[in-house]
Every structure is written in structure tokens, then in C-alpha cells.
């Protein structure tokens, strides 16, 4: 290396082309390109995260109003004669409504509410209180003649006024609501008679008809989803684990095994709607299982989640080191014993994590449910019992959200967003459980 000095020195006449200290134009250009490229990448991530934030904000902002409801809280006394009279009528709830509204008018006049109003305005402001009142007095006849405090939901447009869906500018009088009614509503709100309350009915209630967005609740479809998830859990976990054990531990290298493997990876990518077609053709047309039943939904979703569960289960079986198997075999266990007694328990946390994630996926899936008739079915009540929960028609959360989104009344959109919040809360809970499981039991060998 003594020749190193023989490298020709830089020409001294100042014709030096470049220096490490000052950047030439080309290097500057390359560095700028580098920066630009880096910026594009960062921008892409930020755009993705921006979409996530927008989605989240939209959901929360549009969905939260579904959890509150405008209620009219008022003391109301029903005399025994009125009760007898109303029960004697042909349209009983209508009769109750009339009695109640008349009582409300007198009570407001006594209080001296500062707004013009008449019985018709009250009628427009109130929702349909008749049924609630009737049910209460039929169940508690002892309350007749004594004041009872009622919290009755206001009409859906009044609800919209409170939540900003209906505004004063550009308001057009209709037979549902008139501009003068809004003054009355304001006055009532000031007097504390109309206020916002938490909407328990949205969480526990069932779907209402197409004309009553205020009364719609997601409770019944949560129950439907629950029964579906039971089916999925009790079928896909054992079948998925069994299939994975076979493929990972026992399957010989042959054509049949290849066939199974190819099928599993292909099924994982088949569009979910195709599973809906399968469910319609096989479970409903061929096997004559009841339409819209959570049982059928569960079966279809089981077939759909199986590939996911098998793939994750195989990964966790593979993660158990071979030394465990060798040790068991060395102590005289059979192959089956080594797998069932040692490998499977060690892989169980991973399997459960994968199963929960698969269940979460199934819970949010909508398209196959559309085809087996879970849409269009108005889930008006809870199933009658445990078996009925599987076989009686019901809706499921995503199907219910779709049904609401497809209805014409704008009031249902709010319910759809609210339903999404409930659905996402369930998904979040499941994913958090999966993460905790993974954190707590994950083992590095």
C-alpha cells in the first residue's frame, strides 16, 4: 500500500469538477428526488390514517345521536272512567292518545306555557304514546286515578329538531310538523318538559316498522348475531382445529392433502356473497332449513370463517417446537397422544386468538346474510327461547344496519350509524380480548 501516494493529485489549475463539501447540481437533484420520494411515502401513510380518522369521526358524530332520544316527561293521571271508556273503543291506543293529549293541553295551560298551541300541535309533537300508556295501565291497574310520571318519546321530526336534522331555516310546514310547533317545542324545552334522554330502547329494543324510526332498536338483532356466533364458535373451532391437526401433524404428502390445501387457500379468497349463494342453494333450497334463521346464518358464516381459522391454527401448531413432540414420543406416547396431550394445549392460546379474530370477521359480514333472507325481515321481538333463538327468523346486527340504511326515512340513517357504533364496540372488545390473550400467553421458544 505504499503506492498510495502515487494517485495523481487533483489538478491545481482550479478545474476541479466536484467536492465532497459543495454539492453539484446533479447531487442536489438526486437528493431532492430522495426527499420527494420519502415525502410521497409519508404522505401515503398520512392519507391512509386520514381516511381512518375521517371514518371514525363520521361514525361517532353521526351515530351518537341514536343513543339519545327526545322525550316528553309529564305527570299523567288516568281516571277509571276514562280507562273503561278507552278500553271500550275500537281503536284503543288512539283513544288513549286523545285522553293523554287533552290532559297535556290542560296541564300546559295550567302551567302557563308561553306559546300558542292547540290540541293538534300537541298531537304533532307527541309521537305515538297510546300504546305505551295503555300497556302501563293494563299492567298496573292500581295506578288508575293517581299521577304517574311518563317519559314518552316525541315525534321523530321533533327529535330531528333537537339533533339538528330539522332546522328552522327552510322549514316547510307539513301535516307532520309546522313552524309554529317549533316555538312550542322551545317553550316546552325551557319548562323542562321536553328534554334529551338516553335511549335505552335503542340498545334493548327490537326493530320497528318502516314509519317509526324513533322506536327502532338493535337489541333483537344483537341476540340474532349472538346465536349465529354461537353456531360459528361451536362448529368452526372444533372442525378448524381438527382439520389443522390433520394437515399439520398427520397428513401424508399425497394428492388428497394437496387438494385440501389448495381448496382451503382458494376458499379463503372466495367472495363472501358466493357463500351466501351456497347457503341459499344448499341449506334453504335443498335441506329446507328455515329462512332468515340464525342457524342458517351461522352455518354459512362457519364455512366462510373455517379457512381463516385453519390458517391461523396451523400457524400456531407450527410454532410449537418439534422437541416437544420428540420428547413425548421418546417417553412412549403415541403420535396422537403427543399431539393431543402436548402440542395442542401449548398451541391453544394462539388457536383461540385466531378463532376470536375469525369470529369478529364473521360478526361483521353482511353479504351472505342478505341472500339467506335476513334482510327485509322485521325483527319485532326477541326469540321465545333458546332453541327458538336458532330456528326462528331473526335479524343480525349488520343485516339490521343494512335494512335501516335501505329505508326511505332519513330518521333511520341515524339508527344505522348508531348500530355501527354498537357493532364496532363488539368487534373492538373481541379484538382486545384476542390481543390480551396473545400478550399474556404468547411464548417464544
Amino acid at each position: 500500500m505504499t503506492d498510495a501516494t502515487s494517485i495523481p493529485a487533483a489538478p491545481e489549475d482550479g478545474r476541479r469538477k466536484s467536492s465532497l463539501r459543495t454539492l453539484d447540481a446533479r447531487t442536489r437533484r438526486r437528493n431532492a428526488a430522495e426527499k420527494r420520494f420519502r415525502f410521497y411515502g409519508l404522505a401515503a401513510i398520512l392519507v391512509g390514517l386520514f381516511f381512518l380518522v375521517v371514518l371514525g369521526v363520521t361514525i361517532v358524530r353521526s351515530g351518537l345521536p341514536a343513543f339519545t332520544q327526545t322525550v316528553v316527561s309529564i305527570d299523567f293521571t288516568l281516571s277509571e272512567e276514562d280507562y273503561a271508556k278507552a278500553e271500550g273503543q275500537l281503536f284503543k291506543t288512539k283513544a288513549y292518545e286523545q285522553i293523554f293529549n287533552a290532559a297535556l293541553v290542560t296541564s300546559l295551560e295550567e302551567r302557563g306555557v308561553e306559546a300558542e298551541f292547540d290540541a293538534k300541535a300537541i298531537n304533532r309533537i307527541m309521537g305515538k304514546p297510546g300504546a305505551t300508556i295503555r300497556e302501563h295501565f293494563r299492567a298496573n291497574e292500581g295506578d288508575l286515578g293517581t299521577p304517574v310520571q311518563f317519559e314518552l318519546s316525541a315525534a321523530s321530526r321533533v327529535d330531528g329538531y333537537f339533533k339538528g336534522r330539522v332546522t328552522r331555516d327552510g322549514f316547510v310546514d307539513s301535516r307532520f310538523l309546522q313552524a309554529s310547533d317549533l316555538d312550542l317545542v322551545d317553550a316546552l324545552a325551557e319548562a323542562g318538559i321536553i328534554r334529551q334522554a338516553f335511549n335505552w330502547n335503542f340498545i334493548t329494543g327490537a326493530d320497528s316498522g318502516v314509519d317509526n324510526p324513533g322506536g327502532a332498536g338493535i337489541g333483537a338483532s344483537v341476540v340474532g348475531s349472538f346465536f349465529m356466533m354461537l353456531v360459528v364458535l361451536f362448529l368452526s373451532l372444533p372442525i378448524g382445529v381438527a382439520a389443522s391437526i390433520y394437515l399439520e401433524e398427520f397428513a401424508p404428502q399425497n394428492r388428497f392433502t394437496d387438494l385440501i390445501e389448495v381448496n382451503i387457500s382458494n376458499l379463503a379468497a372466495v367472495p363472501s356473497i358466493v357463500f351466501g349463494i351456497l347457503g341459499l342453494a344448499v341449506f334453504i333450497q335443498f335441506m329446507h332449513l328455515p329462512q332468515s334463521a340464525p342457524l342458517v346464518g351461522g352455518l354459512v358464516l362457519t364455512l366462510m370463517t373455517l379457512p381463516t381459522i385453519i390458517i391461523s391454527t396451523r400457524a400456531s401448531l407450527k410454532a410449537v417446537p418439534p422437541s416437544i413432540r420428540d420428547a413425548a414420543l421418546g417417553l412412549g406416547a403415541s403420535k396422537m397422544q403427543s399431539v393431543l396431550h402436548h402440542v395442542l394445549p401449548l398451541a391453544m392460546p394462539g388457536i383461540l386468538t385466531g378463532t376470536i379474530i375469525g369470529l369478529a370477521q364473521a360478526l361483521g359480514e353482511t353479504a351472505p346474510l342478505l341472500l339467506i333472507g335476513m334482510v327485509g325481515f322485521v325483527a319485532r321481538g326477541y326469540p321465545d327461547g333458546f332453541i327458538a333463538g336458532f330456528t326462528e327468523p331473526n335479524s343480525a346486527m349488520p343485516a339490521q344496519i343494512y335494512t335501516w340504511a335501505a329505508r326511505a326515512d332519513v330518521g333511520f340513517y341515524e339508527k344505522a350509524w348508531g348500530g355501527i357504533i354498537v357493532l364496532l364496540l363488539f368487534l373492538l372488545t373481541m379484538n382486545i380480548i384476542a390481543i390480551i390473550l396473545r400478550r399474556r400467553f404468547e411464548r417464544r421458544w
Binding site: A44, V270, P271, I277, L363, A367, I387, L423
Partner: protein
């Protein structure tokens, strides 16, 4: 619930079988378990399996086959003139089924007397009225043959389930005797049980194959049925999609091309959103991001993939659609009136693109990470900057994998349903304007199969042909993608 009781009974017998088998083996060995071939558990398990497997197998088979047989016999008794003009035997059978269920319920509630039904002393109007009074769904006035058929159906189902209970219990008891008699110390119980478990494992693994067969068969049968009613050439090359709404008009145009065009157009828009964002994000995450940023940004991006598609559908319908209209619509911010309504190709495409970002980014990220570090080092050593290395070395090396990832994303886009059902519109159009409403294959499958359509009409059956098209398309894309990815992986492993 007799079925439930039957299951409970079989389980009780099998429990007893377990105890009997185990104790008999132990007793024969004189209480010394070392004299047994297998652990005592296996003798019990052997009996248990021999009871449960045949009994439940029979039960499931019977439950599947009995309704088919009953329907066949019952539909044979319906006279031909009972099938009215414009109706079909399927509709009549549906009426029979409804009536039969209504009768069972009405008798259970006491609204109808079983004796009166049996001796035929009630005329059809009375039965109809009684059923309606009991709150059962009956569409119109029932005729005598339908009532007879319904009663036959009920009778056959009742006898069928009695016979089934007897047969299943006999199978369980036979299994009990067989298993218990086998329980002797020399019997290789463990081998037998393990063999049985193994067969069950194979059975579980074959469900994937069965599912595929089920999908293919249900698509093929109905598609063939459809092509018998509607010419295949008009389906594949027809430029019009206009199903008649009566369902039986026969004057429907069911060309698939407008739907395919809508599907591809929306998928193209989606990929135009997802591929650049996803790819740049993947490059940044794998090449530039610090481990901490990666740990935060990657899971957050993947949240986008975990959100149910119904959420995206609603987002498209209620947020993105109106937003686009306020920009591109009449009196919008740009002063152009390109977009008429919220539902459009752009609406669905953009939202679907957002959904696909994590697909592209995660898959590409994995693939870029799989490019060996030595290749990068070589490039750096020659004086290339990072971006030059990425553009000229890493991306070309990862290209096959990235193409695979994009193809997988495309197959997702083609098969996506909820976003297009809610965001893309219902009108089938062959148009180039991305602000117009178009519809897709998946959206039409949903609209043709929901509602009270008659499954025998071409308007309903076309959904299966559409499903077949969809299945073949996505399968082709997936196979191609997997092939490309796999081929690429072989180079560096």
C-alpha cells in the same frame, strides 16, 4: 322438543357406555391396569365412539333425507289441476308446507281440534278461517287437496320422526353392546380409538373440499337450469340488463356485459386509489420508517381492513356520495354538473379503494421485506441513494410479488358486495362517465335473490349464472396471483 330429548338420550347411553366399557376392562384385568393393553380411558372412549358416531350419523342423514322423501310423496298426491295458471308445483308445495305448519301450531294452541281435522268434517273454508283466527299465515282460501296434502305431510313427518327415534336408539344400543363386549384386556383399545379420531380429523379436513364441491354444484346446477330458460349467448353478449319486474313476464334482457363493465370500472377506480397509496405506504414502512413508527402506523392502517364492509357501504352512501355531489354535482364547488346523485362509480370506487389500502400495503410490505438485504447493500455500495435503490433494485425484485398483491386486491374489489350495493346504484349502464351510477355483478346477485322471487324464474336463476361468473373470475385472479407470488418466492428462499 323430541329431537333434543333424542340427542340427550344418545348422550346418556354413550356416557353409560364409557363407564361400562372402562369398568369391564378394568374388572377383567383384576383391577390391575398394567395388565391392560391400553389405558382404561381408551376402553371407555372406544365404547363412547361406537355409540355416538353411528347414532348421530344416522340422525343427521335421516334429518336430511326425510323431508326430501316426504315432499316427493306429498307432491305426488297433488292433482295437476291444482297447479293454477302462472303458478308452479313449487309454489303449491310452499303453500302445503305453510298450511301443514299452521295446522300443527293451531292444534297445539287448541284453536283447531285434531279430531275434526282427521275425520274431514271441516270444509276448506272453515279450516282456512280457523287457521287465520289462530294467527297462522295462510295466503288465500285453501282447497281440499292442499289440506289433504298438508295433513299427509304432517302424518308422514310424525311417523318418520318416531321411526327415526327408534332406529337411532337401536343404533346407540347396538353400539353399546358391541363396544362393551370388545372391552377385554387384550383388546387394543388405544389403536382403535386413535384410528377413529384420525378418521374424524380427515373428515374435518375434507369439509373444505366439500364446501368447494357444494359451491360448484349449487352454482352449476342452477346455472344450467338458467341457460335452459334463457339463451347463453344473450347472457354473455347481451348489452342490455333489464329484468322484468313481474318475475314471470319472460321479456327480460339479462345481458351480463353492463354488469361486468360496472364491476371492472369500479374496481379500476378502487385500485387507482389503493395501489399508489398502499404501495408508497408499504415502501415507506419497510424502507424508511423507524421501528416505533412502524409499530404504530402498520396496525393502524390494518384497522382499515378489519372494519366490516357494511360500515364502508354506509360511509359511501351517506358521507362520500353527498360530498362528491357537493363538489362535482349541480351547483357544486367546481361549478360543473357531472354528478347527478350520490350513488356513482366514483363513490363506490373511492370507498372501496380506502378499504383496499391495507391489503396492498401489508402484502407489498411483506414482499419488500423479503428482498434480501444484500441487494440493497450492493446498490448502496455503488453510490445509489435510498430512493434510487428502491426504484431500481428493490421494486423490480419485488415486482412479481407486488403484482400478485394487486391481483389479490383486484379480486377483493370484484367480489365486494356491500359497498357497491349501497354506493354504486342500481341502474346497469355501459358508460364511460365515472360520476354516473352503475351497478355490478354482486349488487345484482343481491337484488335478484332478495325479495319474494320465484326460484324457478330466469330472473332469479340469473343470479346463479352471475355468481358463477364471479366465482370463475375471482378464482382465476387468485390462482394467477398465488402462482406469481409463489414463483417469485422460489428465487430467494
Amino acid at each position: 322438543m323430541p329431537l333434543l330429548w333424542l340427542i340427550v338420550a344418545v348422550l346418556v347411553v354413550s356416557g353409560a357406555g364409557y363407564v361400562l366399557g372402562r369398568s369391564r376392562a378394568v374388572a377383567q384385568a383384576g383391577g390391575d391396569t398394567r395388565a391392560l393393553h391400553s389405558l382404561p380411558f381408551y376402553y371407555g372412549a372406544n365404547v363412547f365412539l361406537k355409540i355416538v358416531v353411528p347414532a348421530f350419523g344416522l340422525l343427521i342423514l335421516w334429518l336430511l333425507i326425510q323431508p326430501l322423501v316426504v315432499d316427493r310423496v306429498v307432491s305426488g298426491t297433488i292433482p295437476a289441476d291444482e297447479v293454477r295458471e302462472g303458478s308452479s308445483i313449487g309454489l303449491v308445495m310452499a303453500e302445503v308446507t305453510r298450511t301443514a305448519k299452521g295446522m300443527t301450531n293451531a292444534v297445539a294452541e287448541g284453536a283447531l281440534s285434531a279430531d275434526a281435522l282427521r275425520d274431514g268434517s271441516m270444509d276448506p273454508e272453515e279450516v282456512t278461517q280457523a287457521l287465520k283466527d289462530a294467527g297462522q299465515v295462510v295466503t288465500s282460501t285453501l282447497t281440499a287437496p292442499i289440506i289433504e296434502a298438508a295433513q299427509l305431510r304432517n302424518r308422514m313427518s310424525a311417523t318418520g320422526s318416531v321411526i327415526m327415534s327408534v332406529v337411532v336408539m337401536l343404533a346407540a344400543l347396538a353400539g353399546l353392546v358391541w363396544g362393551v363386549r370388545e372391552s377385554a384386556p387384550a383388546f387394543r383399545a388405544r389403536n382403535v380409538v386413535e384410528q377413529g379420531i384420525r378418521v374424524m380429523l380427515i373428515g374435518a379436513a375434507s369439509i373444505a373440499v366439500l364446501t368447494t364441491i357444494g359451491i360448484v354444484l349449487s352454482l352449476v346446477f342452477n346455472t344450467v337450469e338458467f341457460f335452459r330458460l334463457y339463451p347463453a349467448s344473450q347472457f354473455f353478449f347481451g348489452l342490455e340488463w333489464a329484468p322484468s319486474f313481474s318475475g314471470r313476464g319472460g321479456a327480460s334482457d339479462l345481458g351480463v356485459l353492463p354488469l361486468l363493465w360496472g364491476t371492472l370500472y369500479i374496481s379500476l377506480v378502487a385500485l387507482a386509489v389503493a395501489v399508489p397509496i398502499g404501495l408508497f405506504a408499504a415502501v415507506y414502512l419497510s424502507e424508511y420508517a423507524s421501528p416505533r413508527m412502524r409499530a404504530v402506523a402498520k396496525p393502524l392502517l390494518e384497522v382499515l381492513a378489519g372494519i366490516p364492509t357494511i360500515v364502508y357501504g354506509l360511509f359511501a352512501l351517506l358521507t362520500v356520495g353527498p360530498l362528491l355531489v357537493s363538489v362535482f354535482g349541480d351547483g357544486g364547488m367546481l361549478g360543473v354538473s357531472w354528478q347527478g346523485g350520490g350513488r356513482a362509480v366514483m363513490t363506490a370506487g373511492i370507498v372501496m379503494g380506502i378499504m383496499l389500502i391495507p391489503f396492498v400495503s401489508s402484502l407489498s410490505d411483506d414482499i419488500i421485506n423479503a428482498v434480501p438485504q444484500a441487494m440493497r447493500d450492493g446498490s448502496y455500495g455503488l453510490g445509489a441513494t435510498r430512493s434510487e435503490t428502491i426504484k431500481q433494485v428493490v421494486l423490480p425484485a419485488a415486482l412479481p410479488g407486488i403484482v400478485g398483491a394487486i391481483l389479490l386486491a383486484a379480486s377483493r374489489a370484484i367480489g365486494e358486495t356491500m359497498i357497491v350495493v349501497l354506493g354504486a346504484g342500481a341502474a346497469a349502464r355501459l358508460s364511460l362517465n365515472p360520476f354516473e351510477a352503475m351497478t355490478t355483478v354482486t349488487a345484482k346477485i343481491v337484488s335478484q335473490l332478495t325479495g319474494d322471487s320465484d326460484f324457478a324464474s330466469p330472473e332469479a336463476l340469473v343470479a346463479f349464472a352471475l355468481g358463477m361468473t364471479l366465482f370463475v373470475l375471482t378464482l382465476g385472479l387468485n390462482v394467477l396471483a398465488l402462482y406469481i407470488v409463489r414463483k417469485y418466492r422460489e428465487q430467494y428462499d
